[in-house]
Amino acid sequence: MGMAEAILLTIATAATPLLLAAIGELVVERSGVLNLGVEGMMLMGAVAGFGAALTTGSAWVGVFAGIITGALFSLLFAFLVLTLVTNQVATGLALTLLGIGVSGMIGEAFVGQPGVKLTNIHIPGLSDLPYVGRLLFGQDPLFYISVLLTVGVAWFLFRTRAGLTLRSVGDSHSSAHALGIRVIAIRYAAIAFGGACAGLAGAHLSLVYTTQWIENMTAGRGWIALALVVFASWRPLRVFVGAYLFGAISILQLHIQAMNLADLAFLPGPLYWLLAQLKSLPSQFLSALPYLATVAVLVLISRNRRLTIMNTPASLGQPFVPDR
């Protein structure tokens, strides 16, 4: 297996949780709700997935536990913002803080325990093809789910009647309500879907990415997923591109920290020089790169104000009380 292939594989592993969480949040925001609790839901999914896999010995049970926990946890948020019409930003923050706290509490028993790994799929013949075999036919199952989910969400939102309804709720909840669309019910469903995706993303972290539980192991990935939705201007396929871009940044900084410059003498001069400069930086600066990149990307996107206003779901974050 070549080095380029190995790097691409690790990029896919780093990008998958970002993609899963961001695709779920995209659906939530398309329905007009801003859920800032992604980080908390991911942590709950990660701890539940890890725990369930550890006690049953089956990684798949862990995956389902992560999905269910994420969805149930998001319903707490849904009840507050939809039924009690609380402020969405504050409630989302509350969900994240609660998720950090509760997952840390539950997970204390799991610290240091060896976890269960979700095994990569293997198709005899295809998985062993040179160059693309592992990449296309030999990754972990959640990678394929994340790709299918992206395509599925894109199809649902822009090619089905139900998707149109969901987007109309996000763009003008009053008009949708006047047309007899059940705004609140649709938003409950969207939030639960987003929670399930975030839970799955968390389960990926504790069952595939690293097979252990570490307190706060999401390390801001939930927030990066939120940024990805803005970066993608609420379009599923652009979320895919963004997730892989960020996966690449976070993996490259790890590789730069670990690599041996002498092995890279074959690279063209300017590239070698750049890598040498990056490697001479302290590791903390490289670790900060994904966060700085997020800020930079957000600035670049928001500079084009017209584009942002055009793409943002018009009712995003607005409270809705149906007049009966």
Binding site: L80, T86, T91, G101, E108, P282, L292, T294, V321, R324
Partner: protein, 367 residues
């Protein structure tokens, strides 16, 4: 059964007053349930958590130490939140304030003067404000989402501190410990009553800041501007107020207070820079701000409650064997209940039996 909200003709003064208490009570009930599930005596655990720390003088001092940064940060956040600016990066501004405030004692350790400590505090506040200016300018200039930028900068600040104390600022005398040299005695925030406990001037700064910001919000034009812009930016613009200026003002003020909290914590309770200087004060302060109903005077009380939860967590871990990780779960629950109870201020809650309103179901059919 369905829950329906009926808008009150005006804000309920009663619920505005009791909702934080109601929320705290509900949190206690949920906590009791939680401890019962964990197999601990709920009454004993809650007593250890929320009463025992109040029974001894030294632990009242510790309460003041923990409440000071929470109040300082939350007071600044209240101005941000009231003006609809979601600064959730106070933890980062706290960290940068601690770093900039530490420059003088670390680079001029021989300079012994009464001016050192005030200068450190000013530099801490300036550092926090400068760091908060980043998301503020990005929002005012490019309309960049301040929630995400301010939060990302928290991670950056923490990594920067980590690099400093393991790299250029590492104390050569501390063997392999990653920490900066201890501050000289004149750079340490003095204790208020050294005979009975450790409480330092931080709590005084916090109370003064709370009263000053309360005055600013309630009695000055600037405070009016902050609230108008927060409730209706359009009305604010018609009134001649600048949204951009309000963004900058709110962020600079809250950044400065967070930075002041940072240097006060480092020069007071800790005495040196080390990789981790905060048990999440910047995030817990968000809860304090809401529990205090975004009112600086209410925030003083709310800060004491959250500080108590930190102390109680430590006490309960020792006495009852409950993990101190319950603290953050408690704090998260508290914010949830506060937000839920605040609904009662604007709405009455009515429980409707779904079965008796078939007409409503029919009307949905015309979609």
């Amino acid at each position: 059964m369905r829950i329906e909200l009926v808008k009150r003709p005006q804000r309920s003064k009663l619920f505005a007053a009791i909702s934080p208490f109601l929320a705290f009570l509900l949190t206690l009930l949920a906590g009791a349930l939680l401890f019962a599930i964990l197999g601990k005596d709920p009454i004993l655990t809650l007593y250890t958590y929320f009463v025992e720390p109040l029974t001894e003088v030294w632990s009242l001092h510790e309460l003041a130490i923990k409440a000071a940064p929470l109040i300082l940060i939350a007071v600044g956040l209240s101005v941000c939140f009231l003006s609809n600016n979601w600064n959730i990066g106070a933890e980062g501004q706290f960290t940068i304030g601690a770093i900039t405030g530490a420059i003088i004692p670390l680079y001029f350790p021989e300079w012994n003067s009464f001016a050192v400590l005030p200068l450190m505090l000013v530099m801490g506040a300036l550092g926090g404000a400068a760091y908060a200016a980043i998301p503020a300018v990005l929002k005012a200039r490019f309309n960049t989402n301040e929630i995400l930028t301010s939060l990302m900068l928290v991670y950056v600040a923490q990594l920067f501190l980590d690099w400093l104390v393991r790299g250029p600022w590492r104390d050569p005398a501390a063997m392999s410990f990653p920490q900066a040299p201890a501050f000289p005695s004149w750079a340490i925030l003095p204790e208020l009553f050294p005979s009975s406990g450790r409480a330092n001037w931080g709590i005084v700064f916090a109370v003064v800041a709370a009263v000053a910001v309360w005055f600013l919000l309630k009695k000055t034009l600037k405070g009016f501007e902050v609230r108008v812009i927060g409730q209706s930016p359009r009305a604010g613009r018609f009134g001649g107020f600048s949204t951009a200026k309000t963004i900058i003002f709110a962020f600079l003020l809250s950044g400065a207070l967070a930075g002041l909290a940072g240097i006060s914590e480092v020069s007071g309770a800790i005495g040196r820079l080390q990789p981790v200087i905060s048990p999440g004060y910047g995030f817990a302060a968000i809860i304090v701000a809401f529990l205090g109903r975004l009112n600086p005077l209410g925030i003083i009380a709310a800060g004491l409650v959250l500080a108590l939860s930190y102390l109680g967590g430590e006490a309960a871990q020792i006495a009852v064997g409950v993990t101190d990780k319950t603290v953050r779960a408690f704090q998260g629950m508290l914010l949830f209940f506060v937000l839920a109870c605040d609904t009662l201020i604007l709405y009455r809650i009515r429980f409707v039996r779904t079965a008796v309103s078939p007409a409503k179901e029919v009307s949905y059919g015309h979609g």
